[in-house]
């Protein structure tokens, strides 16, 4: 498997002319698959035009095949095929500041299939990078997407990782994102996982983060379940170093017969460590939401706080919108969509 390092090079999957050229001069099947992925990418909220820009790093994986990969200075991609998927290593050089977001596009176009992504992200000391990952399963009847990521954010590095999903309306998707993250001294890790377009299906998110001294971790998870969707969110943040900071924000809405469970654990293990868990779950119809926060503090100068609001929409918010003439369904939808669209007020920018 080839690699692209330290330059604007195209990475090619074995046996095919991958990269952007595939779209225009490859065979019809490849071009069709690429076009389908781009359309799915658009449905997931991405901008397909961004994938064509020369200064934007991109990686497009359909099922178990890499359709396109494009690195820019400061980033390297390495990938190899594994059963049902791709194993990828993405590295950002120490000190590199990647100005444009790195676009990742994963998806399964057929109605059935399994996609396994094993990814290693190595964010070098002092570097800054932002990833926008879009995962699309527009026709899914029986699709499983397993993402297993290991992420290391180097000393004083900044990583912003945003993942958005589009699942179509069939509900036949199982999404199992798992990540083990280490944030070194002074590093900053901000991640947002969003599954609010189409049916959630079965989602089991499981993130585990260790934060060293002076580092900052911020995790936002947003999901919208309907019919018989099942949403499980497990987040564990260990604030191991002095002055480490952690924030988890969970926003889940479930309606019909959907179920959601949120397990959030925050550990304050060092002096000056500060953590906060903020969970809002809105329930409509016969849906059910559960929240299990666990606060562990192992140092007398650490502090972890928790707030949760589970239930129907806030009455005052609802009445405020009704007083503008919206009917109740419109108002509830607006509140839920707003909650799921919301950005963290603490979200950092890359250039500081």
């Amino acid at each position: 498997m080839s690699a692209a390092k330290n330059g604007a090079q195209r990475w090619h999957a074995p046996g095919r002319r991958a990269g952007r050229e595939t779209n225009t001069s490859g065979n019809n099947a490849e071009a069709g698959e690429m076009n389908a992925m781009l359309e799915a990418y658009r449905q997931a909220g991405g901008d397909p035009e961004a994938l064509k820009l020369p200064d934007v790093a991109t990686l497009v994986v359909s099922g178990d095949r890499v359709l396109a990969a494009h690195a820019v200075p400061g980033i390297s991609f390495q990938a190899e095929a594994i059963q049902d998927g791709v194993k990828a290593r993405i590295a950002v050089e120490a000190g590199a500041r990647i100005e444009r977001p790195i676009h990742l596009c994963f998806g399964v176009i057929p109605a059935e299939g399994v996609q396994v992504i094993e990814a290693e992200y190595d964010i070098g000391d002092g570097s800054q990078a932002q990833f926008l990952a879009h995962c699309s399963f527009p026709n899914a009847v029986k699709v499983q997407h397993r993402m297993q990521a290991r992420i290391n954010v180097g000393r004083s590095a900044i990583l912003i990782y945003t993942e958005e999903h589009y699942h179509g309306q069939g509900g036949g998707v199982e999404v199992l994102p798992r990540a083990v993250v280490n944030v070194e001294q002074g590093g900053r890790f901000t991640t947002t996982f969003s599954l609010v377009r189409g049916r959630a299906g079965r989602m089991e998110l499981d993130y585990e983060v260790d934060a060293d001294a002076g580092s900052t971790v911020e995790m936002t998870t947003k999901a919208y379940g309907s019919v018989e969707d099942q949403i499980t969110v497990k987040e564990l943040v260990r604030l191991n170093g002095p002055q480490a900071r952690g924030l988890t924000r969970t926003r889940v809405a479930v309606r019909d017969d959907a179920r959601s469970q949120v397990f959030t654990t925050m550990e304050g293990n060092a002096p000056g460590a500060r953590g906060h868990m903020d969970c809002t779950e809105i329930v409509r119809g016969a849906a059910e939401a559960r929240n299990t926060p666990i606060v562990i503090v192992r140092h007398d100068q650490a502090q972890v706080t928790h707030e949760a609001a589970i239930g129907t929409v806030n009455r005052k918010e609802l009445e405020s919108l009704l007083a503008r003439g919206l009917d109740e369904d419109q108002a509830v939808d607006l509140i839920i969509r707003g909650m799921l669209r919301s950005e963290s007020p603490l979200a950092p920018t890359l250039v500081e």
């Binding site: 926003r251 806030n314 009455r315 005052k316 918010e317 009445e319 405020s320 919108l321 009704l322 007083a323 503008r324 003439g325 919206l326 009917d327 109740e328 607006l334 509140i335 969509r337 707003g338 909650m339 799921l340 669209r341 919301s342 950005e343 007020p345």
Partner: protein
């Protein structure tokens, strides 16, 4: 239609001879307490009607009851709005008939941009109307239009957004619950002008406030005490009555005025029975 002159601003506002809102004998009892007691009130198009009163006297309760909020269904009495008793109407239905409320402490909305929130009451999207409404409360649209109406806004900013949303809607009856609280002195002038503009454009405004500066924009004022409207007349008279007779009288009785279980308060209220109630425009 007749013209009514506002003494402070020297403005003439058109006023219909028939009230847009007529509250008759409104009573609300909750948790064993009488929150509203035989409230009578009228609001006319083109007029600002100020509602004064101590904390806990029932002003906000009356506002929520008029808007039809949950838990504020009156036990007896009538709310006539444009000739129709609206007690059976939902909040949405009242709003669609032009009745709206600016909350004293407006709700915060994650992920709803200020511009969108301000435009919610418009019949169709109208960017210019939203921009104009925001500028009317001294919030430049280019800075605030895309910000979320969430807790990143200060209390004063959020209140101004609420007022902009009401103004953009051009309601027939705007109930403004303490729009001045949390507002800095520089912006207070803009808020005052906005209230007058609402009236000048034909809205009836029911303004709940504690501030003299704002009370002075009113054409009519009513004074509430322990759930009752005990005085209706000119705003200066109401303020004078409020400061010279109502408060000292109740304080001299050594009681919290809103504690209606105290016999002395009950006596004080009964002694005010001779004061004109539910009067029309001064």
């Amino acid at each position: 239609m007749e013209l009514v002159h506002n003494r402070v601003y020297g403005l003439w506002a058109g006023a219909m001879s028939e009230p847009l809102l007529r509250v008759e004998g409104l009573c609300l009892r909750r948790d064993g307490r009488d929150l509203l007691r035989n409230v009578n009130l009228e609001c006319y198009p083109g007029q600002v009607h100020t509602l004064l009163g101590l904390n806990g006297s029932g002003k906000s309760t009356l506002a929520y009851t008029l808007m039809g909020c949950e838990g504020y269904r009156p036990d007896s009495g009538h709310i006539w709005y444009d000739g129709m008793d609206i007690q059976e109407l939902s909040i949405s239905e009242r709003a669609r008939r032009g009745l709206t409320l600016a909350w004293q402490e407006p709700a915060r909305f994650e992920g709803i941009p200020v511009g969108k929130y301000v435009g919610l009451g418009l019949p169709q999207p109208d960017r210019q109307a939203v921009v104009a409404a925001l500028e009317a409360v001294a919030l430049p649209a280019k800075y605030y239009g895309y910000r979320s109406a969430d807790r990143t806004l200060s209390g004063g900013e959020r209140k101004r957004v609420e007022l902009a949303a009401v103004y953009a809607m051009r309601p027939r009856l705007a109930i403004l619950d303490e729009p001045d609280s949390g507002i800095d002195m520089l912006t207070l002038g803009d808020i005052t002008l906005l209230i007058r503009r609402l009236a000048m454009e034909g809205s009836a405004v029911l303004l709940i406030t504690h501030r003299d500066e704002l009370a002075e924009v009113a054409d009519v004022a009513s004074l509430m005490c322990a759930g009752s409207v005990i005085f209706t007349g000119g705003p200066l008279e109401a303020a004078r009555y409020f400061t010279t007779r109502c408060i000292p009288h109740l304080e001299s009785l050594g009681a919290q005025p809103w504690d209606e279980t105290k016999p002395e308060v009950k006596m004080a209220l009964e002694s005010n029975g001779s004061i004109r109630q539910g009067g029309g425009p001064a």
